[in-house]
């Protein structure tokens, strides 16, 4: 029942959000159809043709108000507001002096980088720590620690590269949005992209290496019990 519900709701919500123009056109058509039917109804009741249109319009009330209410009922106001907030923030930032603006943007960028690093480190070290038992078995069977660490690191490297590609693509799109806020730097600055990428890869490498290394050092029987 839940799934059946989402099956209807999700496409409708997405449409309200992204196909705003066609939703507006639908509302126009729906209301126009209503008014035409009302007009025809008045004619059928024998009202004079000169006044039916005006009567129908008056009976319907404010089209704009009805549209607003229908839009509210479609319930995308929350996301719509979030988009408005971001647009507003960007507009405000554009108004302040370039030096201060650069500082603000840089501070947010640094914060974002720190948060991203914490995230990458947390996930990577957790994934690696989960393999402690497996590493213990490999070590007990005589694998050398270099081999074990490189196996673990290889897997992490694949994830990280995939993440990096997605990240660079999204950053390229996002950079166009904040283009107006950039000062003395282009939206496709190679150094900035490379710097961010290096930090992310470095964090992932450290996050994979430290727990893997630790796992190769512990007693294999202890490692086996770790799960």
């Amino acid at each position: 029942m839940r799934i059946e519900r989402w099956f209807y709701i999700v496409p409708l919500r997405l449409r309200s959000l992204f196909r705003r123009q066609s939703v507006e056109a639908d509302l126009d058509d729906e209301f126009r159809d209503h008014i035409e039917r009302q007009t025809a109804e008045y004619v059928r009741q024998g009202a004079s043709p000169s006044e039916v249109r005006t009567r129908a319009l008056r009976a319907f009330g404010s089209v704009d108000q009805h549209k607003e209410a229908a839009r509210d009922a479609r319930g995308v106001a929350g996301i719509g507001h979030a988009v408005q907030d971001v647009t507003f923030a960007v507009r405000m930032l554009r108004k302040i002096a370039p030096r201060i603006r650069t500082l603000v943007v840089a501070a947010f960028a640094a914060l974002a980088l720190v948060l991203a690093s914490i995230g990458v480190y947390g996930v990577t070290s957790h994934v690696t720590a989960q393999r402690t038992a497996e590493i213990g078995i490999r070590m007990a069977l005589g694998a050398r620690s270099f081999q074990v660490v490189s196996t673990v690191a290889g897997r992490i490297a694949v994830y990280s590269c995939a993440g990096l590609l997605i990240g660079i693509a999204s950053a390229a799109v996002a950079a166009q949005v904040i283009r107006a806020l950039l000062y003395g730097i282009g939206p496709m600055d190679v150094a900035a992209f490379a710097g961010g990428g290096v930090v992310a890869i470095g964090i992932a490498a450290a996050a994979a290496w430290i727990p893997a290394r630790r796992a190769t050092r512990v007693d294999p029987t202890a490692a086996l019990r770790s799960e």
Binding site: L12, D26, D29, E30, G61, A73, R74
Partner: protein
């Protein structure tokens, strides 16, 4: 319902669901039909009917479909979904209970 306060909360949804359960209908037909079958007692304003329709559509209780109107324009027809049918049954049951209870109370004999 020119004044929404006149209407017991939530009954508009029940009425709309029942109307489109009869047959697929456009907004105008729903309000006309409602007026007819209730001997002109239930008069929904367009300002409250359309938000209710769109809300029900968003909730997946009714489904909208575009058809060609008699004069070759696009007309939007609403019909009940399976989910809506279930909701209609629930709401009708709730309404029967509520209205029976209210009738019982207001018919109490005064001493």
């Amino acid at each position: 319902m020119s004044r929404p306060t006149d209407l017991v909360q939530g009954t508009l949804n029940l009425l709309v669901l029942k109307m489109v359960a009869l047959q697929p209908m456009n907004g105008f037909a729903i309000s006309q039909r409602l007026k007819q079958v209730s001997n002109e007692v239930l008069q929904v304003t367009d300002g409250s009917l359309y938000p209710a329709l769109h809300k029900l559509e968003q909730e997946g209780l009714i489904r909208a479909e575009w058809r060609q109107s008699e004069n070759n324009r696009r007309a939007k027809y609403y019909s009940l979904t399976r989910l809506g049918r279930r909701r209609l049954a629930q709401e009708r049951e709730a309404w029967d209970r509520l209205s029976a209870a209210i009738s019982m109370v207001i018919r109490l004999r005064e001493a």
